[in-house]
Amino acid sequence: MAFLEIEGLQKKFGAADVLKGITLEIDEGGFLVLVGPSGCGKSTLLNTIAGLESVSAGEIRINGKRVNELHPSQRDIAMVFQSYALYPNMTVAQNIAFGMEIRGVPKPERDKAVAEVAEMLQIKHLLARKPSQLSGGQRQRVAMGRALVRRPQVFLFDEPLSNLDAKLRVDMRTEIKRLHQSMKRTIVYVTHDQIEAMTLASKIAVLKDGVLQQFGSPAEIYNRPANMFVADFMGSPAMNLIPAEIAREGNDTRLKVEQRSGEPLSLALGEAGAALKPGKVVFGIRPEAVTDPDGADRTSRNVVEAPCLIEVVEPAGSDTFAVTNLGGKEAVVRLRADAKVSPGQTAMLAFNLDKAVFFDPETQLRLT
């Protein structure tokens, strides 16, 4: 039995269905990330777990106990908000201690708990300040302190890093990961940033329009996206989704891809094509799986080379991204930084077909 279980959860606002039957679970000590574009229902889902919003149907269980009817304060959860939601009229110490104060915890005990948390988050020197006197990163720490001091069964994070600048965001991300590893508490974390999702999660749930698109480990989500939406949403630059056709030539399964100029590409799929039927498909390949021949993955069993017309070259320091045109769409490929390519030139590219995935153009679902 999982620690946090969500079963058939539905949420309606009047006529609008915000959550359309979500089923998820996460083990004790797990890190569940809910990710999706804005308006996908991920924050609503988090709020229903917190008890801040009621559910229309379905059940939420924490540690085997149904919590649907419990007030947020009785669910043994703590939440870190996007805006941090620090009480502006209270000092940092009062903010952290407020929940204990409401529960009637005696003052000495409160002070001790606050001191411990302040120590852990290195905010001791801020305890007497008001939230308005803190920087964004400091507010973030205080908000986490307020959650930590409760020692809850489940931590809920609602886009906690989205108000920080890029550098601080990376630091705090690491910090959250470290806290999770040392405390071993269950975390549910909402973000629209797929890099945050990949780096933090033990399980990722991708949502769109209130429907769960895929639920799995970061590697599963990244390598075997359930559908074209997940493939496109997770990863940066996004996976290339190229209209193509499967054809049989004798025992060989070949992938035909139109090019803007010159011959269509014809790639021998080998093992990767064994289960595919002839006909139209969408060929999904991540930029890093298409390289210059010298940069190709030597451990891969199935690398094929083909000439492609390079249209744009974007050096990015550690890598060089190049744009070519495949199947009538722009495709981004990742070359080594010192690969010698220039716009207008036809270059040999190496396709790592071990990493290729194929989708049905109609249903948009993954085929193999």
């Binding site: 229309s56 009817e69 009785q74």
Partner: protein, 306 residues
């Protein structure tokens, strides 16, 4: 918006949750009940009354249909009141808006001492209409006021006795009312001007527009919402105008400065024509609501869209 379908409590925790969802409504209920009774219930009461033959006291045994309304619109005093309202409201709104906008534009020219001038323009709004009325009543009084002062200063032929003349008395009320409210309209426009995007102005200057053109073609058209708000506030004040008239002229000379509000008061409580008084109040409400309801509706809808 939280869903509030209150489920039949099954467990203690669920019951507690239901109670907690009830508390906010219990807190709001007394206020809402008071408003329902004192505003909407009373309006209903007055509507019913306006169809009754009530005289000194409410009388629900004789019904006259639209009789009160027919008598109302046949009554010369009511016609005078409506004419006065038309004169008063249109002058009051136009002058206040023009003066308010003009002063706001002048004040917006990086004026030294703006901090001192603004409160001077605005303080009349803090006064009671009765105080305003007393001040202007005696200042415009020919015996001791302006006319007297001019005579003292040697302008013997100066004559200003509007407040005593039936034909002109209503204009003295306009003067006092404008004095009281124009500073407020100025403040509304000033806030509007300060809200104009600076980059738009800069763009126009780069396009070579003169200050005058910038105001005429860009800034003043941007003040549309302020004009609308000012219109609604002023129209609503004009229709309600009562205190100022009472303090300055008490409707006189004769019935020359009666307004609908004054009519209602005099007929209901002075002449024991409660039915007619009620019907005049209904007409006033219809006038105000026909301005306010579309305005509030569009404001609330815009608020929701934003």
């Amino acid at each position: 918006m939280a869903d509030v379908t209150v489920i039949v409590p099954r467990r203690a925790s669920e019951r507690r949750l239901a109670i907690q969802e009830l508390i906010p409504k219990l807190v709001l209920a007394p206020s809402f009940a008071l408003i329902l009774l004192f505003v909407y219930g009373f309006i209903l009461f007055t509507i019913v009354l306006s169809f009754s033959g009530s005289k000194l006291l409410p009388d629900f045994s004789t019904w006259v249909g639209f009789g009160n309304y027919q008598r109302l619109f046949a009554h010369p005093n009511w016609i005078t009141a409506l004419k006065n309202l038309a004169i008063f409201a249109s002058l009051y709104i136009v002058i206040c808006s023009a003066l308010g906008l003009g002063l706001a534009i002048l004040l917006d020219q990086k004026i030294r001492g703006e901090g001192a001038l603004r409160p001077i323009y605005l303080y009349p709004m803090a006064l009671s209409f009765i105080v305003t009325g007393v001040a202007w009543k005696w200042f415009l009084d020919p015996g001791i006021g302006l006319e007297h002062v001019m005579h003292q200063w040697g302008w013997e032929s100066f004559s200003f006795r509007w407040i005593k003349e039936g034909k002109y008395a209503i204009y003295t009320i306009v003067i006092a009312a404008v004095w009281q409210s124009s500073g407020f309209v100025m403040a509304m426009f000033l806030a509007g001007l300060r809200g104009v995007d600076n980059e738009v102005i800069k763009a126009a200057q780069i396009d070579g527009a003169s200050t005058f053109t910038i105001y005429r073609r860009i800034i003043i058209p941007l003040m549309r919402p302020v004009f609308l708000s000012a219109f609604v506030v002023l129209a609503h004040l004009a229709i309600k105008s009562y205190d100022l008239v009472v303090a300055m002229t008490d409707g006189g000379p004769g019935t020359a400065t009666w307004t609908p509000a004054l009519f209602m008061q005099k007929f209901t409580f002075g002449r024991n024509e409660m039915g007619m008084g009620a019907s005049s109040a209904i007409i006033m409400m219809i006038m105000i609501f026909s301005i306010i309801i579309p305005y509030l509706y569009s404001e609330l809808r815009m608020g929701r869209r934003a």
